[in-house]
């Protein structure tokens, strides 16, 4: 296949971004087969591409037709409503909870490291800090250990924040996928 055709197909593909991967693949395979068929039966490549129109308008023709297909029958409507009701509720809770927690833990993790560093370095230079770092029974942890202790605490918080962020990402991706499936049905 010639470069020109490859380029044409690539441009069509980039204009089909809103469709699902399978649908995109299906459409491109068909267009490619059409071009090959036309060239095989003796048509000039340029003429074939010209007849197909610009990549954007061809892609839009496919997208337009796939929108028309989405009929809103009662069953479909109920499905959509229940989807939005459910994800609306759970979304507010889960997204806010995970999001706020992840952001605050992220900030906290840096603060831990900074405070730890200040304690350790300060103590090393002989500065007295009010209050102990941590009291375990009668024994209070020496301030000089601030950096290693609070530092590892900070790393833990950082990892936790990252984990929450991933959970949130997965949740949103899951919802988006479900949404697409319903719309495509």
């Amino acid at each position: 296949m010639s470069e020109k055709i490859d380029k044409y197909l690539l441009e069509v593909e980039s204009n089909l971004a809103s469709l699902s991967i399978e649908e995109k693949k299906d459409i491109l395979e068909e267009i490619q087969s059409h071009i090959e068929e036309a060239v095989f039966s003796g048509e000039k490549e340029e003429m074939v591409l010209k007849r197909l129109g610009s990549p954007k308008s061809l892609a839009n023709a496919f997208i337009g037709e796939s929108m028309v297909t989405k009929k809103m029958d009662m069953k479909h409507l109920l499905k959509l409503v229940s989807f939005y009701a459910k994800t609306g509720f759970s979304g507010i809770l889960i997204v806010t909870f995970l999001g706020v927690l992840s952001v605050s833990l992220y900030g906290l993790s840096f603060m831990c490291v900074i405070i730890g560093a200040v304690l350790s370095i300060g103590t090393a230079f002989g500065i007295q800090f009010p209050g102990g770092l941590m009291n375990i029974g009668f024994w209070s942890l020496p301030n000089i250990l601030g950096l290693p202790i609070l530092g590892s605490f900070g790393i833990g918080l950082h990892l936790l924040s990252k984990y929450l962020r991933r959970l949130l990402q997965e949740y949103i991706a899951g919802v988006a996928k479900k949404h697409r499936l319903i719309l495509e049905k």
Partner: protein, 116 residues
């Protein structure tokens, strides 16, 4: 409205009927459908109409598509479309409505109101 606009509306309205009518005889591939319909310029459809239409009819389960198993001769692989039983039902209904329309227009064109 100019005549080209009206023609394209007619084409849009009748293309489904034309495609299904051809497919009721045997499976066709897209390029073949386009080439065949070119015999009648009034319904000839371009690629950017035909392929999306074939996809829609397939989604609506009036058609089924399949890729041709390895072809004997050289040449590109072809994606064939064949009409389903549901598609046949749809075609029968469309054909009936079309014959009503044909009769109605004929009658209207030769209609003369009785004058007193």
């Amino acid at each position: 409205m100019n005549i080209e606009e009206w023609k394209s509306q007619l084409k849009r309205g009748s293309l489904e009927l034309c495609v299904l009518s051809l497919l009721k005889n045997r499976p066709y591939y897209g390029y073949e459908l386009i080439a065949t319909l070119e015999t009648w310029p009034i319904v000839a459809a371009k690629e950017n109409t035909m392929y999306p239409l074939l996809r829609r009819l397939t989604k609506e389960q009036f058609l089924e598509s399949y890729w041709e198993e390895d072809r004997e001769s050289s040449g590109p692989r072809r994606k064939y479309y064949r009409i389903t039983p549901l598609g046949i039902n749809y075609l029968v209904e469309m054909t009936t409505q079309w014959s009503y329309l044909k009769v109605a227009i004929q009658e209207i064109q030769s209609y003369e109101e009785e004058r007193k």
